[in-house]
Amino acid sequence: MSEVTLVDAPRRRIECTVDDRPVRVGEGDTILGACNREGIDTPTLCWGDTLTPKNACRVCVVEVEGSRALVPACSRKVEPGMVVRTDTPRVRHARKLVLELLGSSVDLSTTPRVDEWYDRYEADPTRFGEVARTVAQPAKVDNDLYVRDYAKCILCYKCVDACGDQWQGTFAIAVAGRGFASHISTEYDVPLPESACVYCGNCIEVCPTGALSFKVEFDKRADGTWAEDRQQVTDTICPYCGVGCTLSLTVQDNQIVRVGSPHDSSVTHGNLCIKGRFGWAHVAR
C-alpha cells in the first residue's frame, strides 16, 4: 500500500470529557464528532454529514455540565474542558420522548435503526395515541422517478437545504404553512413536473426517513418485493459527463433499484444530477 496520507489543515487540539473519558478532538469539532470518535453511538435524524446542522429533531441531545438545557450534540462545538454526558436519565428521557412524539405523528417504518432506538430508550409511541396519525396522508406520486411520501416526513429540512443554498441551488422546495400545517412543498404546491425540480435526487440522498424514495423502491415496497437481503451495493463511475461522480448502485435480482453516491467523495460529496441518479433505464432488464 501507499505511504501517502492525506491530512487536513492543522488544527488546535481540544481536550474534553465524554462519559468520564478524556477525549481530544480538533478545534471546531462537534460533540457528535467526539462521540463518534469514542464509539459512543448517538441517534441522529436531522443531522447530515454533508449539511449544516439544523437542530430540528433533538434526538441527539446530551448533557453538558454547566448548561441549563440539554444541548444538541450534532451542532454544539466542543470547548476546552467541556464535560459531556450522553447516557444520563435526563438524556435518556429526552431521547425517549423525542422518539415517541415523532413516532406518534410520523410514519417511521422505513427509518433506518429507529426500532433499535425505541428499544434502547424504551420508547412507546402509542402512549400518545395511534402511531403516525398526525401527518398521515397519501404519497405524492406525480412522476416516474421518485415519490414524496410526506406521511414519513419529520420536517428535518435536509431536503430543503440540499435542494437550495447548500448544494443544488435549485430551490424547488421549501417549508410552507404554519404549526401543524407546516409541510415541505413546491411553489404553490404544484406537482413536481410543474415545479423547478431538476430531479437531481440530492434530496433523496439526505432524507433520513424514506419519505423521499425512488419510484422503483416505492413500488417494490408496495407489492412486497423489496428485499434488502437480496441487495448488494457496488460503487462505480457514472457513464455520462466528464465530472466522474461515483455511483453506489443498489442491485436486487440483477436490477438497479437505487442509486446513491458516497458522501465522502471528493468529486461531488454525494450529489448527482438527473442522468446519474435516474438515467440507468438502458441497463434495466
Partner: protein
C-alpha cells in the same frame, strides 16, 4: 462552482445563450457565435494596456510575448464590441477581474472546441492564462470540462491517432521502442487518422472497412446524410455496441457488448485527470459480452494469445491489463488498483507508488531554477476567423447545437428513462426573430441549411441573442439535427463546426383541413 460562489468567488459566463450557469454569474457576456478569438484578443489587449499583465512571469516562463502583444493591438474594446456584440464595458470588466484575481480559472466545453478553428480558440485562452500567470498554481489554470465520462481516459490510453498509451507521441522513437519490446511487434511510426480524416478517406475510397465501438456516427456526425452514405459505401462495417444503434443497422457484423460502466471492470479518467475504478454491478443480458473478451477473441483469431489475470475473474483480468499499462506509461506508474480504490481515484501524473503530485499541472513554470523551469510556454498569435457556414440573405440565422440537462448526445442511453423534464426537439428562436418571421410558439416550421432540412416546432427563448437559434441533437430519430450541421473541421483537432450553421426558417403550408 456554486460552492465557490458561496465562498465569494466571482463567475463570468461567456456564452451566446443565457445558460443556467449564466443565471448565477456576476457577468454574462454573449458573443456572436464564432467570435471567441476576437473576444479573447480584446481581453488580452485590455490587460496589457491596463498594465495588469504579469511581466515577471512572462519574462521568466514564456516565449513569443512581443509578437503576441503586437497581434492583439488591433483588438480595441470598440472593435471587439463591433465584432462580438459584447459591450466594451463588459469586456473591460472581465479583463480587469480576471487579471487582478489572485486565483483564476478558465473553464470551457464544446462551445470553444466545436469550431473549424477550435484549436485557435483554445490557444487564445492559453494566451490569457500566460499573460496573467494564472497557470501552474493551485486553484488557477485552464480547465477543458470534458463532455463524456472517459474522453480524457480514452486519449490517455492511446485511443487517438497520434499517441501511445500514457499520452506518449507515436513519433517518439524511445517511447515506441518500449511498446515494441513489451508487445513483441513493431508499432507503426506514423500518426493514424482521426474520425474526420477517416470519413475523408472513405470518401476517397482509401478506407474500405471500419470497426466502430460504442459510437453512433450515423447520427452524431455533422452532415449526417453524407456520413450515412459513406458508412453504407464501405466494403465491411463492424459495430460493437450496447445497443442496436442506427450505425449498427448499417453494419455487416454486430457484436453485442456489455455496458462498461456497470457490467464490467476497469477504470475511467474524468475531467480533472482522476483515474477512477469502474465496477461490475450487473450481469450483461443475453449474448452481450465484455468488450475485453471480444477483443481477446479477436486477437486470438488474428493469431495472438493475450492473457491477463485469472480467467473468468473480471476484476483480475482488468487489473492485469492495467498492470501492463502501468509498466508502459510513466504517468500511471504509481497507480495500483489498491491505491486507486483507497484514495477514491488518483490524478495523473503519478510516477511512483509513494507520492502524489499536486492536483494542477505546469507548476514547473514557477520554478526559480531555469533548468527546473524547463521549456518556456509559448504565446500564440491567433487570428479571428468567422464560421465557415457564412450568413447571407438565403441563410440569415445562426444555428448552434447543444445538450439539455436530462439528455445525453444522440439519446441512445438517456432516451430510455422517463424524464419529467424532457420535451421533444424544438427550434428555439429569439422572440423578436420569430415575430419578424411571422411564426408562433409551437408552430411547426421547416429549418433549412445548405445541406439539408428538418421540421420542428418553434419555442421562444429570451435567453438567446437576436439572430441566434438553438437545437439539441438528442432526438435524431424524430428530428435529425445533424442533417443541418456542417462538416467543416478544424485541421488540427479534427472536430467539426457543430456550433455554427447558417439556416433559414420556412413556414409550412397550412394543411387544407385547417383553412
Amino acid at each position: 462552482m456554486l460552492a465557490a460562489l458561496r465562498r465569494g468567488a466571482k463567475l463570468f459566463v461567456v456564452d451566446p445563450r443565457r445558460t443556467s450557469s449564466a443565471q448565477w454569474a456576476h457577468g454574462w457576456l454573449s458573443p456572436d457565435v464564432g467570435s471567441d478569438v476576437a473576444l479573447a484578443n480584446a481581453v488580452a489587449r485590455e490587460i496589457i494596456h491596463a498594465g495588469l499583465a504579469d511581466g515577471a512571469f512572462i519574462d521568466r516562463a514564456t516565449v513569443g510575448y512581443a509578437e503576441f502583444a503586437a497581434s492583439v493591438e488591433e483588438w480595441t474594446l470598440e472593435r471587439a464590441e463591433a465584432v462580438t456584440g459584447v459591450p466594451a464595458a463588459s469586456i473591460r470588466e472581465l479583463a480587469h477581474t480576471y487579471a487582478t484575481a489572485e486565483h483564476a480559472q478558465l473553464c470551457w466545453t464544446l462551445g470553444i472546441t466545436e469550431h473549424h478553428n477550435g484549436v485557435d480558440n483554445v490557444l487564445s485562452l492559453i494566451n490569457l492564462a500566460l499573460l496573467c500567470g494564472h497557470v501552474g498554481r493551485y486553484a488557477s489554470g485552464l480547465n477543458p470540462l470534458r463532455g463524456q465520462n472517459n474522453v480524457q481516459g480514452g486519449g490517455d490510453m492511446g485511443a487517438i491517432p497520434n499517441r501511445l498509451p500514457g499520452f506518449q507521441d507515436i513519433e517518439d522513437d524511445d517511447a515506441r521502442a518500449a511498446f515494441d519490446t513489451a508487445w513483441g511487434t513493431e508499432v507503426p511510426p506514423t500518426y493514424g487518422m482521426h474520425l474526420s480524416q477517416m470519413f475523408d478517406a472513405m470518401e476517397h475510397g482509401d478506407l474500405r472497412a471500419l470497426y466502430v465501438m460504442g459510437e453512433n456516427p450515423a447520427q452524431s456526425e455533422a452532415d449526417s446524410t453524407k456520413a450515412i452514405a459513406l458508412l453504407q459505401s464501405l466494403d465491411h462495417l463492424v459495430v460493437q455496441d450496447v445497443f442496436f444503434t442506427k450505425t449498427a443497422e448499417l453494419a455487416d457484423v454486430v457484436l453485442p457488448a456489455s455496458a462498461s460502466w456497470c457490467e464490467s471492470e476497469g477504470t475511467v479518467t474524468n475531467s480533472e485527470r482522476r483515474v477512477q475504478r469502474v465496477r461490475k454491478a450487473l450481469d450483461p443480458p443475453g449474448q452481450a459480452r465484455d468488450d475485453v473478451d471480444i477483443l481477446l477473441d479477436m486477437a486470438s483469431l488474428l493469431g495472438h494469445t493475450w492473457t491477463y489475470g485469472r480467467p473468468g475473474d473480471r476484476r483480475s483480468i482488468a487489473e492485469g491489463i492495467w498492470q501492463e499499462l502501468r509498466s508502459l506509461s510513466p504517468l500511471h506508474a504509481g497507480m495500483s488498483y489498491e491505491r486507486i480504490e483507497a484514495l477514491g481515484g488518483i490524478q495523473w501524473p503519478c510516477p511512483d507508488e509513494h507520492t502524489l503530485e499536486p492536483s494542477f499541472l505546469h507548476g514547473r513554470l514557477w520554478h526559480d531554477d531555469p533548468a527546473e523551469r524547463g521549456r518556456p510556454a509559448p504565446f500564440s498569435v491567433v487570428l479571428n476567423s468567422p464560421p465557415v457556414d457564412a450568413l447571407d440573405d438565403d441563410f440569415p440565422l445562426r444555428l448552434t447545437t447543444g445538450r439539455r440537462l436530462d439528455s445525453y448526445n444522440t439519446g441512445v442511453q438517456t432516451g430510455r428513462f422517463s424524464s419529467p423534464r424532457r420535451r421533444a426537439e424544438t427550434i428555439d428562436l429569439f422572440p423578436a426573430d420569430a415575430e419578424a418571421l411571422g411564426v408562433l410558439a409551437g408552430e411547426r416550421v421547416r429549418i433549412v441549411s445548405r445541406r439539408g432540412a428538418v421540421e420542428a416546432p418553434v419555442r421562444l427563448d429570451t435567453g438567446l441573442r437576436p439572430g441566434l437559434a438553438f437545437m439539441t441533437f438528442h432526438f435524431p430519430d424524430e428530428v435529425d439535427v445533424n442533417v443541418l450541421t456542417i462538416d467543416a473541421v478544424d485541421p488540427k483537432s479534427g472536430t467539426a463546426e457543430f456550433k455554427a450553421s447558417a439556416i433559414r426558417i420556412e413556414r409550412l403550408p397550412v394543411p387544407a383541413a385547417a383553412v
